[in-house]
Symmetry: C2
Subunit: 540 residues, 2 copies
């Protein structure tokens, strides 16, 4: 059983132009094929995707002496300018990324460099500065915000710094419940090594099978168990970072007033300030028990009210998610059930792990019932858990069938949640409609806080014009709507290049100036991930 306690087998190499394990890719179920025209009208069959060998890349801008300089640090076998390695490091896994990977002509980094230690990372950064080459730190390759685009900025070339050889559980402190993990360790590898000590990190974003511990930190990941285990932000107790101008190690204490918490400067820094090489995290004993319960609410609003009461008290579930009516109708929350039935109302999933399950479940159930919720047993929640990392496979199949499918997310206070949801839905619907596309928009709440919650949208569209250009316009309009309605530009997908133009609306020009000042100090040559996170300075 590979999914006991959410742990899964270590990932194979990801499909080069789609999500995940090629062996797990599957065609759309017949029920979905039947449903799609009802939702989206006539679907236009897309042009066939290109094969890996047929992809055309510009020649690498690095010459033999450049390659030798990196090879002197990491060994010649760990520097590659080969075609396949470059394509496989050419971006993340947003829908625009996948659409670009279906084209013949593609952009790619000029080389892939694979250091094995912190010191090798630091040395690679020094070489890059010396050679005038940009560096894109690369973990699991699962970014959906353009954080891995092979952008060279003002530099003459760009290398992908693949961190997946920095791997392993470096230290476990069982008394303190802390583990030091090398940043390139994937989610499943970290959990497998912790499990040998009886411990769990318990951080399960949808990208879990491929993403790395360093990536969780650099992108401020959330994770589906955030109600119980907290955001990744709150799990990190220490961090080690190599920057082009020096190393830094932070986290002397679980609580401190020794100036601002500089760990938080690097959580969410997306490779723009330095390369995270080690992360110290809070871990807990593997929970022995797990209890599932699914719920149905008359409508989304009453479900939100229920989740709010759960979040504002003590002792809630480990996982709690609420789908709106549109998502409930197509059972999208349970990949295995899609299209099986057009359900009514708003469905929710709860999972309990760890101490005091009975008390927590009783308290939560009482709050959900008080808001009009009706328990629907274990089934749907168990199915959600079994399929929770499989959503992205479905997207590949939809793209193959000519259906555009993408996700985006935001968050706000409880009092502003309904109004933000309606603003985002309006922007998506009107944006597609203006290009002649019908869309189907679904939403769920997956992360709750005492003061507010996240909103995660999945949109399907039958795009008639060029999909990349169409989505680019709709996405811009949606980001504007999020900001105007008081939401954050990203709850857990991060900024990358796709959201960078909106960051100033989020944190103000003074906030952007702070980021630029840190960047100038740590990376004066600007080699690190140019164009990601920090919007370009038009005044200089």
């Amino acid at each position: 059983m590979t999914q006991e306690h959410g742990r899964v087998a270590a990932a194979t190499e990801m499909r080069w132009n789609g999500w995940g394990d090629p062996a797990r890719a599957k065609d759309l179920p017949l029920a979905v094929r039947t449903l799609l025209p009802l939702l989206l009208g006539r679907i236009r069959r897309p042009v066939d995707a290109v094969g890996l060998a047929a992809v055309e890349l510009p020649p690498s801008a690095l010459d033999a002496s450049d390659v030798a300089a990196f090879a002197a640090v990491v060994g010649a076998e760990h520097v590659s300018t080969g075609h396949d390695a470059r394509v496989r490091h050419s971006g993340g896994r947003s829908t625009p990324d996948l659409l670009r990977l279906r084209e013949v002509r593609q952009a790619a980094p000029d080389a892939v460099v694979r250091p094995r230690t912190h010191d090798e990372v630091a040395a690679c950064l020094r070489v890059a500065v010396e050679l005038g080459v940009a560096v894109i730190p690369f973990g699991g390759g699962t970014s959906v915000v353009g954080a891995l685009d092979p952008e060279r900025g003002p530099h003459r070339a760009v290398v992908s710094l693949d961190l997946r050889r920095l791997t392993g559980l470096l230290r476990v402190d069982e008394v303190s419940g802390e583990a030091l993990i090398a940043a390139g360790t994937t989610g499943p590898d970290a959990e497998a090594q912790l499990a040998a000590h009886g411990y769990e990190l318990g951080h399960y974003p949808q990208s879990f099978r491929y993403a790395t511990i360093g990536g969780f930190a650099a992108a401020r990941s959330s994770g589906q168990n955030s109600a119980g285990n907290g955001r990744f932000d709150t799990m990190v107790t220490g961090i080690r970072v190599a920057t082009p101008t020096g190393d830094i190690e932070l986290g002397r204490s679980p609580g401190s007033a020794a100036g601002p918490d500089l760990i938080r400067v690097f959580l969410g820094s997306e490779g723009a300030f330095g390369v995270i090489t080690e992360v110290r995290v809070r871990v807990h004993p593997i929970p022995r028990d797990r209890v599932f319960e699914s719920w149905t609410f008359p409508d989304f609003a009453r479900g939100v009210d229920a989740l709010r009461h759960v979040a504002q008290g003590r002792g809630g579930p480990t996982v709690i998610r609420l789908s709106d009516e549109a998502e409930t109708a197509v059972s999208l929350a349970q990949v295995g059930r899609i299209g099986k039935a057009l359900a009514r109302g708003a469905s929710a999933v709860t999972v309990y792990e760890g101490e005091g399950i009975a008390t927590r479940r009783e308290r939560t159930a009482a709050l959900l019932r008080a808001a009009g919720g009706v328990s629907s047993g274990e089934g749907a929640a168990e199915e959600w858990l079994a399929g929770r990392f499989d959503g992205p496979y479905l997207r590949d199949s939809l793209l193959d069938a000519g259906v555009f499918c993408e996700t985006l997310e935001t968050a706000t206070t409880w009092s502003n949640l309904a109004s933000l949801k309606s603003a985002v839905e309006g922007a998506l619907r009107d944006g597609f409609a203006e290009t002649g596309a019908r869309s189907y928009i679904m939403c769920h709440v997956s992360h709750i806080y005492p003061t507010g919650a996240s909103l995660y949208f999945t949109v399907l569209a039958g795009i008639r014009a060029e999909p990349l250009a169409t989505w680019s316009g709709v996405k811009a309009r949606t980001n504007d709507a999020i900001i105007a309605a008081g939401g954050t530009i990203s709850h857990h997908h991060a900024v990358g290049r796709d959201h960078a133009p909106w960051l100033e609306s989020e944190i103000g020009i003074t906030g952007v100036r702070i980021l630029r000042a840190i960047k100038r100090e740590l990376d004066p040559a600007g080699i690190l991930n140019p164009g990601a996170l920090i919007p370009a300075d038009r005044t200089s």
Copy 2:
């Protein structure tokens, strides 16, 4: 009843050369007077403290046109160069501060300026830049780390920017459980205004009666209810700051991945980057019930073990504190009981508020009993609560009697706690002994985290030489020991000027460079709190 649910009447103006309300000051109980020579040997009576009118200050370095420039912003009645106002803003309330306040010749800011709004604060900063005058933001005046010293740095004068006219509960969002509070509002005033809505912030540092909401944020305060309500860091959901080069408002969402959390850049910034003018905080309904229970452990080590198990599971108390054998012996944790009995073992206090008290108490009690704890009923815990803001009064009386009394604090992981405690005690004991002083060192744990805990030390000493110089040497030695033993230089007192020389040991030179880069960007003239937080750059 003024202490219902920890709320107390709004503070009167603080005693000019000591702690708190002059009416509450009291002589040392006879039992303490008897005990002291046993602990410390013969006590030398100190010279008498000077009266307020007899304090000699240098003349204000501001001329009439300077004063007029500030008066144009805040009104003439809110700019003072008077003797009393200057003395009352000349520092915080560390023991060295109090010793300096007993001397005839004192340093003081050249004026006190009292803005009423965010815009007035911003305008004051612009005036200060224009005039070349340093600015010390001043809240409750309770710093114990020298953050309020009237240091002018390279500037020709220094003003104290008293923020206590920026007051009031500006907005309550009862659905989201958030309140927007002006930064100069004191703890009791904030709680009184929230109570009118049925809400509580629930943040009770020892400085609660005087300290301000902005001060809690700027200094990364903890608060005695941190086990239940979290550190102040975790309560803040938004912040508004005026800097010399522009304003910033942060906190669009309860969770976000829109780059690094810049709120955390200002939490702990101690007035060096800007002036916090508004703070948005998470609040909760006033708890209806409160349950007390005191405990005794055979020794401190077993008590620590018990607290660790409480912290590493779910559903603990709102307050949990554990005194070591030395503190237990003199009952210092209960100010009202000091010297009444020489108790044995290590005593602990637990307080439960809010939801699920019975379950939480049962679970906690089981863990404490399993570690050898014996319940001693409600009494001692109730007494602790009644006297919990009164500790500093005792210090004044001790100083009057010639006994040196100071506190310091740190934190580390559970696995390193015993070794850090012993290193600090050794440094204090040996440091005093080398100057011929006997000392009595007490310690308690007051803040627990899943991965570690704080250590709070109180030291009494019969100093024979000059107290300020003696303590300065002992304190430096103790800080070195904290760093060498892996602790943080401050768990909740902050950095100020007293800890600044140790900050580089805590966050590394790269960390200090980040702070300097932010400072240069936001405050290029360096007018804000010069010398506080950021150690002087000896290389430039």
